[in-house]
Amino acid sequence: MSTVLTAMADDAAAPAITERGPTDWASPEMQARIARRYRGERNFRRLGLLALVIAASFLAFLLFTIVRDGWSGFQRSEARLDVTFDAAVLGVDPAAVRAPGGAALLARADYPGLLLKAAEQLGPAEDTLSDAAWLELRDALLADPALLGTSATLWVPVRSSIDLLAKGKYDLTAPADSRGVSDEEVADWRRLAREGRLRTGFNTAFLLGADSTEPELAGIGGAALGSLFTLLITIAIAFPLGVLSAVWLEEFAPRGRLADIIELSINNLAAVPSIIFGLLGLAFFLNIAGLPRSSPLVGGITLALMIMPVIVIAARVAIKAVPPSIRDAALGIGASPIQVVFHHVLPLALPGIMTGTIIGVARALGETAPLLLIGMRAFVTDVPQGVAAPATVLPMQVFLWSDDVQRGFVEKTSAAILVLLVILVLMNSLAIYLRNRFERRW
C-alpha cells in the first residue's frame, strides 16, 4: 500500500494529464464538439417534451371525439302535435272518469290509438314519431284530467333517424345507399322542419330514464341508480374492513408469520387483474353462496374485495404518518392502546384514509370487467328496485350501448361516458383537494 503511495507521489511531478497539453477550447474541433453536445442536449429535451405532447394530444383527441359525439346525446328532437283528447278514440266514458276511481280508468285508455289519429295531421310524415310517443299523451292527460274532450298542443319525441337528421349527423351529400338514412326519411324530416314542427331541446329522459331498445328513449338514470346501489354496498363493506385491518396491521399485529401472510396477501390482491375477482364472484358468490345474479349486492361485494387492498394500503400510510409523540402523550395520561387509536390516531389519519377511499371507490365506479362475469350486463328497462334486483351500472351501460348497431346509440354512449367522466373527475378532484387541504406535515 505504502509503495503505491510513494509511487504516486513520485509521479506527481509529471501527471499523465499534462502530457497532452492544455485543452484549447477555442479550437474549431472543440467548438464543434461543444456545439454537438449542446445540440444533443436540446434534442433530448425536445424529445421529452414531444413524448409528453404525444401522450397529451392523444388524450385530448379522445376527449375531443367523445365530447363531439356526446354533447348532442343530451338533446332530443320533438315534434309538435295538436292532440284532441277524444273520449271515443280513447275508449273511455267521460262520466266514469269523473267518478271516483276514474284515474285508474284513464291510465288504461287507448293512447296508441289516440296517437295514431293525432299523427294523421303530419301527412306523409306520420310515421316519424317515436314508438313510445303515446306515453307523452298519457302523462299529459293524467297530469290534467280536465283535458279530456279538449285539444292541446304537445311536443312528442320523434324517431332516432329523424332526431339524428335534425342534429345534422348524416352526410346528406353522400349517395343514398351509403349515408345510412333513406330518402323517404330525409323527405319526412324536411317536411316537418318546413312546417316548423320540430324543436331540439334538453333530453331529461336521458338523465332520468332507464335503458331501452330505442335510442331516443334510452337513458342512464337506471344505470346511475344501479351504480349508486353497488357503490353503497362496496363502501359499506370495504371501508370498515379496510380501515380496521390497517389499524390492526399498523398498531397491534405482533411481528410474525400471520402479519407477514396478511401483508403478502394484500400486496398481491392489489395487483390481481380485476377480471379474476369476477371469476371469484361467479364461482363463489353466485354458484356456491347462491346470491342473486346481476344484482348490485353481488357486484358490490365483488368490487369491495377488489378495492379493499387499495384502502388498506392508503390507510396504513396515513396511520404511519401520525407521529409517535401523539401516541406516547395519550398513553402517558392513561389511555389504553385502543383508546389511543380510536381517539387520536384515526381522527388524525382520516384525511389520508379518505383520500385513499375515494380513489378506490372511483376505481370501483369505473370498473366493468368483473361485473360482466356476474351477469350485470342485464338489459334492464326499469330503474332497479333494490340491491337484490337485477341492475346495471354506468360503465356497463356504456359497454352495452357501444355494442349496439343502431347509429343513435353512438351519441348516447359518448354522452354516458361524459357523465361518467364528470363524476370521476369530481371524485378524484375531491381526493386531491382533501389531500392538499388537510394533509399535515408534522
Binding site: G48, W248, T368
Partner: protein
C-alpha cells in the same frame, strides 16, 4: 324480509342494552363521587368509563343473538326443506336429489309468487306446508335470538360493579375483531386460488393440461349434437397466450415505455416546478379514466384509422379489430403508470450522483443517459414489469377492440385474441356450468393469475432491492 326485521330488532335491543349499561356505569360513578344522582358533577373513581360498561353489556347481548341469526340464514333453508319433505308420506318422497331439488325449486317459486300455477300437483300441495315451516322457522330463530339477547344482556348487566374491569374485556374483543378484519384479505386470496383451482381441475379432467398449454388450436365450441360440423372443441391455448403477449407486452409496451420514460425524464429533470405541480394531478386524473372509455375509443375511432392505414399500405385482408388498435390504446392507457413508476425511480437516485456528473461538466442529457437511467434501471424495469402485468390483465379494451379469432400471427394488422377476451366471451350469455367450454375460462383465469402473480412478486422484489441499495 322477516330476517331483516329480526336483525333490526336485535340491533335495536342491543342499543337499549348499551344505554342501560352506560346509565348504570354513570350512576355508579356518581355514587362513587358522592354526588346526588342526576346532578352533573365530577365522576368518581370507578375502574372503567360508563361507555365501556355499556359496550360490555351490548357485546354480551349481541354476540349470541347474531350467531343464531347467522346460523339460521346459512342452514335454515335446509331445515325447512327437511320439514317439507318429511311431511310427505314415504311413497311420495322424491327419490333422487335432483328430483328433490326440482320439486323444492317449484315450491319456492309458488310461494314467492314467481310461478302462478304449479306443474306438479305435489308442489301445489307442498306450497302451504313450505310457507308454514318457513314462517315457523323464522319466528323460532327470531325468538331464540331475542331470548339469548335478553339473557346475555341481563347477565352482563348483573356483573357491573365499580371495580369491574369492563374496559379490558371490551378492548380484548375489539382487538380480536380487528384481527378478524385483517384475515379477510387472506380469505379473499384463498377464495380466488381455491375457486380457480377447483374449476380448473374439473376442466383438466376433460382436457389434458398438456393439450391446453401447448395446443395450437383454439375453438371452444362444444357440440350440441355429436354429428355437428366443427364440434371438435379444441382447447389449445397457445394462440391466446401469444395474443395476450403480443398486445399487452409487445405493442402496448412499445408505445408506453418510450412515452412514459421520456415524459418522466422531462417532468423530473426539465419541467418548471409549477408545470410539474399541474401535470402530476392531471396524470393521476388520466390514470383514473375507466378502461371501458378507452375501449370505446379504440373500437370506434382508432380501429377504423388503423384499418385504413393497413389498406393504404396495400394489405387486402386488413382486419377491423386489429391487434395494433387495441395495443396502441392500451399503451396510451399505461403511459401514466409507467411515467409515475419511472418518476419514483429517478427521484430515488441520490442527488449526489446527479450533481457529481453535472459538476464534471456533463450536460443534463448526458447525465440522464449515462448516470441516472443506469442507476435507476432496476426501479424502471420493476415498474415496466408491473405495467406488463397490468396490461395482460386488462380486459375491457381488448374485449371491445380485439377480435375473437385465435390467430397465431405476428402481423399487427391482423386480429388476435387474448386470455381476458376469451374469459369474457366464454362466461357471458347462456352457460351450462359443467361444459368444458365454461370450465376452460377458469383454467385461463388460473394461468392469468399465476402469470401476473409471478410478474408482480418479481417486480416488487426488484423495486424493493433497488430502494434498499440507495437507502
Amino acid at each position: 324480509m322477516r330476517l331483516l326485521i329480526a336483525l333490526l330488532l336485535v340491533l335495536g335491543l342491543a342499543g337499549l342494552a348499551f344505554l342501560a349499561g352506560r346509565a348504570r356505569g354513570t350512576r355508579m360513578a356518581l355514587a362513587a363521587s358522592g354526588a346526588v344522582a342526576g346532578v352533573p358533577g365530577r365522576l368518581g373513581i370507578i375502574h372503567s368509563r360508563p361507555v365501556h360498561h355499556g359496550a360490555y353489556v351490548a357485546m354480551l347481548a349481541l354476540a349470541p343473538a347474531l350467531l343464531v341469526l347467522m346460523l339460521w340464514t346459512a342452514m335454515g333453508d335446509r331445515w325447512v326443506e327437511g320439514q317439507v319433505i318429511a311431511s310427505l308420506p314415504q311413497a311420495q318422497q322424491p327419490a333422487s336429489p335432483a328430483d328433490r331439488a326440482a320439486l323444492m325449486n317449484e315450491v319456492r317459486a309458488l310461494v314467492s309468487g314467481d310461478l302462478p300455477q304449479a306443474f306438479n300437483p305435489l308442489a301445489a300441495d307442498l306450497a302451504p306446508v313450505y310457507s308454514a315451516a318457513d314462517t315457523n322457522g323464522d319466528l323460532l330463530a327470531g325468538a331464540l335470538a331475542v331470548a339469548l339477547l335478553c339473557a346475555g344482556g341481563l347477565w352482563g348487566f348483573s356483573r357491573l360493579r365499580p371495580d369491574f374491569r369492563a374496559r379490558n374485556r371490551v378492548e380484548r374483543h375489539v382487538r380480536t375483531i380487528l384481527m378478524l378484519t385483517s384475515v379477510v384479505a387472506i380469505l379473499t386470496t384463498f377464495g380466488i386460488v381455491l375457486s380457480l383451482i377447483f374449476e380448473s381441475i374439473r376442466f383438466f379432467r376433460l382436457v389434458s393440461p398438456v393439450e391446453f398449454l401447448t395446443g395450437l388450436q383454439w375453438s371452444p365450441q362444444t357440440a350440441l349434437r355429436a354429428d355437428q360440423v366443427g364440434a371438435s372443441g379444441a382447447f389449445g391455448a397457445v394462440p391466446l397466450f401469444w395474443g395476450t403477449i403480443f398486445i399487452g407486452a409487445i405493442i402496448a409496451m412499445a408505445v408506453a415505455i418510450p412515452l412514459g420514460l421520456m415524459s418522466a425524464i422531462y417532468l423530473t429533470q426539465y419541467a418548471d416546478p409549477r408545470l410539474r405541480r399541474w401535470l402530476k394531478p392531471v396524470l393521476e386524473l388520466l390514470a383514473g379514466v375507466p378502461t371501458v372509455v378507452y375501449g370505446f375509443f379504440a373500437a370506434l375511432t382508432v380501429a377504423p384509422l388503423v384499418r385504413s392505414l393497413a389498406v393504404a399500405l396495400g394489405m387486402t385482408d386488413a382486419s377491423s379489430d386489429s391487434a395494433l388498435a387495441a395495443g396502441l390504446v392500451m399503451g396510451i392507457m399505461i403511459v401514466p403508470f409507467v411515467s409515475s413508476m419511472a418518476d419514483d425511480a429517478l427521484t430515488a437516485v441520490p442527488s449526489a450522483m446527479r450533481d457529481g456528473s453535472l459538476a464534471m461538466g456533463a450536460t443534463l442529457s448526458e447525465t440522464v443517459k449515462k448516470v441516472m437511467v443506469p442507476a435507476a434501471l432496476p426501479g424502471i424495469i420493476g415498474g415496466v414489469l408491473l405495467a406488463v402485468s397490468r396490461a395482460i390483465g386488462e380486459t375491457m379494451i381488448v374485449v371491445m377492440a380485439a377480435g375473437l379469432a385465435a390467430n397465431l400471427t405476428a402481423n399487427p394488422f391482423n386480429s388476435v385474441t387474448t386470455v381476458t377476451t376469451q374469459i369474457v366471451a366464454l362466461l357471458t350469455g347462456d352457460q351450462e356450468f359443467d361444459s368444458a367450454k365454461t370450465l376452460s375460462a377458469f383454467a385461463l383465469g388460473l394461468v392469468l393469475f399465476v402469470m401476473t402473480l409471478i410478474l408482480n412478486i418479481y417486480a416488487l422484489a426488484v423495486v424493493k432491492k433497488y430502494r434498499e441499495a440507495y437507502e
